[in-house]
Structures are given as structure tokens and as C-alpha cells.
């Protein structure tokens, strides 16, 4: 394992310290609870947004704390949900009297820990939660833990964050978050595995000419393993199930989010975006907003994911609203 770290045990706290040192105007770090907090909080009358999850997906979630997105992000160990006491601390810290929305990715651990945290603040803070589950690689059935929360989480944090900044109520912010999740679907693929620092070895083995279709953001396998083919073909494999699941048709307007899993460089990511744009153009679907880059990653895994969000005027307005966080900034 070759990584830019000091000690395996210090990976998460030292990375958080770095975020705080790089962006003191935006965030402060509570190292005891491993929580990234927006400076100047809590904000009276504004719904607080708290997310969190295992580390290793940077900039998610700590990089999205700031104006127009999250008020706090809880960092777990790498690929491991944070614990209820961290979430309780974050929830109390950001409550400005208007309640707190928990944005939770649909993984058993995250869901259970956030549930316990909501129980811990019950009676003190009004909490609502939205569980993102946009990954079409996983069948949503009684026989699985349900679809995983992946790329849509970034879009939910941006758009619900803008809604909260406008002064919407907790119910209003939750409804917007749910609308984004309901209108977004994703699918990803991997060229290589990632290495969890504490494990020291690749999470899975892929042959030199093999790719994993439907990979999760923790290196958990997806739908199937295939031989490497040109990116135009890979993009089609990812886009078709998303278009089908969202029932997108001619005339629809989408936000196209092409995300690096961590190890894939922008030069390849833009080739992938080109493939996605061409596939959508063939179907008469227009891309009126886009996001390209490493935003929800899986350590150093090479590969990419595609997320499509069906847009309406409200979602476009909220997407365009000012945002100023370590990882996303425009209009502010």
C-alpha cells in the first residue's frame, strides 16, 4: 500500500484538520466528535442540514459544509458509518429552532446510526430525515437492503441546502430533498479497486482487462464483471438503466453529473461526459445543467459514475442558487 498518510489511525482526524486549516472562513472542525461545522452557526430560524457517513468519499460530506449546503457533516472511519453520539452532537450544534434534516445514504449502518441519533435528540430537536437511494445497479426488492445512496446525495445536499437558505420550513426542505432523490438515478463502474488504509490490501481483485459494472462507492461489487471496452460503450451500459428507471423521454431536461470514483482524471471524465451527452442527445433529452469532477469518491478507485436528475424550474433555480463550500462554489 502506497498512500500519503502518517499513521493509519490518524487518516480521518488529520484529513479533517487539513480541511479546517484550508478553509477557516467556511468551516470549523470538532475533532473530538469528528464533525465539520459551518462557521457562525447555529442559524436562528434556518433549518439545519446534517449529513455524514463513512470517510473515503471526499469531498462528500465535509467538503459540502457551508453557505447553501450543509451545516454539519459527521465523519466516520473509512467506509464505516459514524456513530449516534457524533450525529447527536452535530444535530444539537446546528439547530436554530427550525429543526434539522438528516441526509442519509441508504446503507444499513448509516440508517441505523442516524435513527439512534434521532431518538437521542427526540423531544429537544425536531428531526426529519431523507434517505437517498438512487443506485439502479442494485435491485430495490424485499431481498436486498434496497438501492444504495450514491451520486444523488450530492445533488440533494446542494438543492435542499438552497431551499433551507431561502427560509423554507423543515417539511418544505424535506419535501425538496425527497423530490431530488425521487427524480435522480445513478450507476457507476470501476477500472480498479480501492485500498482501505486499515486493511492495506485491495478490497477486490480485477484483472488487467476487466471492469466491474454497477460498483458501489465502497468497492462493493455491482451487477457484473466484463471485459474492458471503449468508454462510449461503458457509458451506454450505465446510462440506459438510468434513463429506463427514470422513464426519461424526448423533451425532458436533466442535470448530468459525471463523477470520478477518485482515481480517474478529468481528461477521461470529460470523454465520459461526451459519451453521456451523445447518448442523451440521441434520445432527445437535453442537458441544461452539469457537474463533472470527483465529488463522491471511493478512495483511489479508478472509474466513474453517472447521475441524471430530471429538472423542473424549481430544481434549476435551487441548483443555480449561491453556494460556497470547500468543494462547490458559485454565485457567492
Amino acid at each position: 500500500m502506497k498512500k500519503l498518510i502518517n499513521r493509519v489511525d490518524d487518516v480521518v482526524p488529520e484529513s479533517l484538520e487539513g480541511v479546517g486549516l484550508a478553509h477557516p472562513d467556511l468551516v470549523k472542525i470538532d475533532l473530538e466528535h469528528k464533525v465539520v461545522l459551518r462557521v457562525g452557526g447555529p442559524r436562528q430560524g434556518k433549518v439545519g442540514l446534517v449529513s455524514g457517513g463513512g470517510s473515503g468519499h471526499e469531498p462528500l460530506h465535509g467538503g459540502f459544509v457551508g453557505l447553501g449546503m450543509l451545516d454539519a457533516a459527521c465523519a466516520g472511519n473509512v467506509f464505516t458509518s459514524p456513530t449516534p453520539d457524533q450525529m447527536e452532537f452535530a444535530t444539537r450544534a446546528v439547530d436554530g429552532g427550525a429543526g434539522v434534516l438528516h441526509i442519509v445514504k441508504n446503507y444499513t449502518g448509516d440508517v441505523l446510526n442516524f435513527q439512534m441519533a434521532a431518538d437521542l435528540v427526540n423531544g429537544d430537536v425536531e428531526v426529519a430525515s431523507v434517505v437517498t437511494n438512487d443506485d439502479v445497479a442494485v435491485q430495490d426488492s424485499l431481498y436486498t437492503a434496497g438501492r444504495r445512496g450514491v451520486g444523488a446525495t450530492v445533488l440533494v445536499e446542494k438543492i435542499a441546502g438552497a431551499k433551507a437558505e431561502e427560509g423554507a420550513t423543515l417539511d418544505g426542505v424535506r419535501a425538496t430533498a425527497e423530490k431530488v432523490n425521487a427524480n435522480a438515478r445513478s450507476m457507476g463502474m470501476a477500472l480498479t479497486s480501492c485500498i482501505v488504509p486499515a486493511a492495506g490490501t485491495p478490497t477486490f481483485q480485477l484483472g488487467d482487462d476487466e471492469i466491474e459494472i454497477g460498483i458501489g462507492i465502497h468497492g462493493e461489487p455491482g451487477r457484473r464483471r466484463e471485459k474492458l471496452v471503449p468508454v462510449d460503450e461503458i457509458a451506454a451500459t450505465l446510462v440506459e438503466p438510468i434513463v429506463d428507471d427514470l422513464a426519461l423521454s424526448q423533451g425532458d431536461d436533466v442535470l448530468a453529473f459525471v463523477n470520478s470514483m477518485g482515481g480517474t482524471p478529468l481528461i477521461e471524465l470529460y470523454i465520459a461526459f461526451r459519451s453521456v451527452a451523445s447518448l442523451l442527445a440521441d434520445r432527445g433529452i437535453s442537458i441544461s445543467r452539469s457537474l463533472v469532477g470527483p465529488y463522491i469518491t471511493s478512495l483511489e478507485m479508478a472509474g466513474f459514475s453517472v447521475t441524471l436528475l430530471r429538472l423542473d424550474d424549481e430544481l434549476k433555480r435551487l441548483w443555480d442558487a449561491p453556494v460556497h463550500t470547500p468543494a462547490l462554489r458559485w454565485g457567492a
Binding site: N77, S81, P84, G109, N113, Q115, Y143, T144, A145, A199
Partner: protein
């Protein structure tokens, strides 16, 4: 009257502490194996997480015994502190699941100043029921419950006729058999469920760590 003989074995706080300490040692020894099982069908951190949690439990026990002002702990209190420590330190799904297991077991013993072996088995049963409730799983889903459920059912059956070490040894045997029986199962809960049929052929890491806990229980009570 063998039935009476076994149900009147008392479980002391010291026995529970010995169980927890032996569990911490065993989980540390087998941490890599658990992580490798999790790399096959999960996210590759189960051994690391349960090792961290039970190391914290052992540290909690050390800290408590080093504090002369701390009140003498009882069985229910120790199980509750174990639950709180695990919930705070494990994370992932195993934190709330093992936390709930010990929390419900503790609640079941709250009214028993001198619990018997039968009370302990009933408490662990309550713990397993709590795991099923919050996890939404049942035996056959390729989870912790595939070790816990057959183990506790074997212990209950044996309780009426066996000696103390046999009751727990039978439970540990059943837990290990239950963990091995997860190999041909297709996972229906947790991250392994994303694999569908590809989860078949691998032993479940959660069932394996549960079997380690039950073997440690049998060995610590015997020794």
C-alpha cells in the same frame, strides 16, 4: 434433578467481564479473518470495527476497575456499559446491531440482582430479538442471526438437562455450525445483499463474529 441444578447456576458480574475480555482477545486474533470475509461480500472492515469496539470495551472495564470511587457493577450494568461503548466506537451496521444486542440483554436482566444461567440465556434471546427488530432480518438472511438464533435455541433446549459448561458449549457449537451454514445462503440484508447470487459461497462475517462471541462465552465460563 438436573434441571434444577443447571438453572440455579448463578451468573456473576465477574463472569460477564471475563467473557467480554476473552471476546476482545479472540476478536483481535481473528480480526484479519473477519475483514477478509467482509472483503469478499461486504466492505472489508468488519474485523477492524469489532476489534476497535471490543478493545474499547476492555478499556472501559480497565478504567472502571482502576477507579476506586466507581460503584460495584452488576451484570445488567456491565452489559449496558458494553452496549454504550460499542454504539459509540464501532460504527457501521455492527455498532447499532451489537449495541442493541447488549442493550436489550441488559434491560432483560435489570430486575435480576442474582441472575441465573437461564436468565442469561433469556437475556441473550432478548438481545437477538432486538437485533432482528432493528435490522429487519430473520434467520436465513445470512446475518448475525444465523449464528445467534440456533445457538440460543440449542442453549434453551439443553438448559433443562445439561451442566453449565455443556449448555454454553452446545450454544457455541450451534453458533459455529450456524455461521458455517451461511456459506450457501444468498444474503438478503446489509451490503452483502447487493451481490445477489454472488454472495453465495462465502461465510457471513457478522455470523462469524457472533459465533466467536458465543465460543468466548462458553470458554470463559468453563475456565
Amino acid at each position: 434433578m438436573p434441571a434444577l441444578a443447571s438453572t440455579t447456576v448463578f451468573v456473576t458480574e465477574g463472569m460477564i467481564e471475563a467473557w467480554l475480555r476473552l471476546s476482545a482477545t479472540r476478536l483481535r486474533e481473528r480480526s484479519r479473518e473477519l475483514t477478509e470475509l467482509d472483503q469478499a461480500i461486504g466492505d472489508g472492515d468488519h474485523g477492524i470495527n469489532v476489534d476497535r469496539g471490543f478493545t474499547a470495551v476492555a478499556a472501559m472495564l480497565d478504567g472502571r476497575s482502576a477507579d476506586p470511587a466507581a460503584p460495584a457493577p452488576d451484570v445488567a450494568g456491565t452489559l449496558k456499559q458494553t452496549a454504550q461503548t460499542l454504539i459509540r466506537t464501532v460504527g457501521g451496521a455492527s455498532g447499532p446491531l451489537y449495541g442493541t444486542f447488549f442493550l436489550k440483554a441488559s434491560a432483560s436482566l435489570a430486575g435480576s440482582p442474582q441472575p441465573t444461567l437461564g436468565d442469561l440465556i433469556a437475556a441473550l434471546d432478548a438481545g437477538a430479538a432486538g437485533v432482528a427488530t432493528i435490522g429487519g432480518g430473520q434467520p436465513g438472511d445470512k446475518t448475525m442471526l444465523d449464528a445467534l438464533t440456533p445457538a440460543l435455541s440449542a442453549a434453551r433446549e439443553r438448559l433443562t438437562s445439561g451442566a453449565v459448561d455443556q449448555v454454553l458449549a452446545v450454544a457455541a457449537d450451534a453458533a459455529e455450525a450456524g455461521a458455517a451454514a451461511t456459506i450457501p445462503m444468498q444474503a438478503r440484508k446489509g451490503r452483502a445483499s447487493y451481490l445477489g447470487e454472488r454472495s453465495i459461497g462465502h461465510q457471513d462475517p457478522g455470523a462469524t463474529s457472533s459465533a466467536i462471541l458465543l465460543r468466548a462465552l462458553a470458554d470463559s465460563f468453563q475456565g
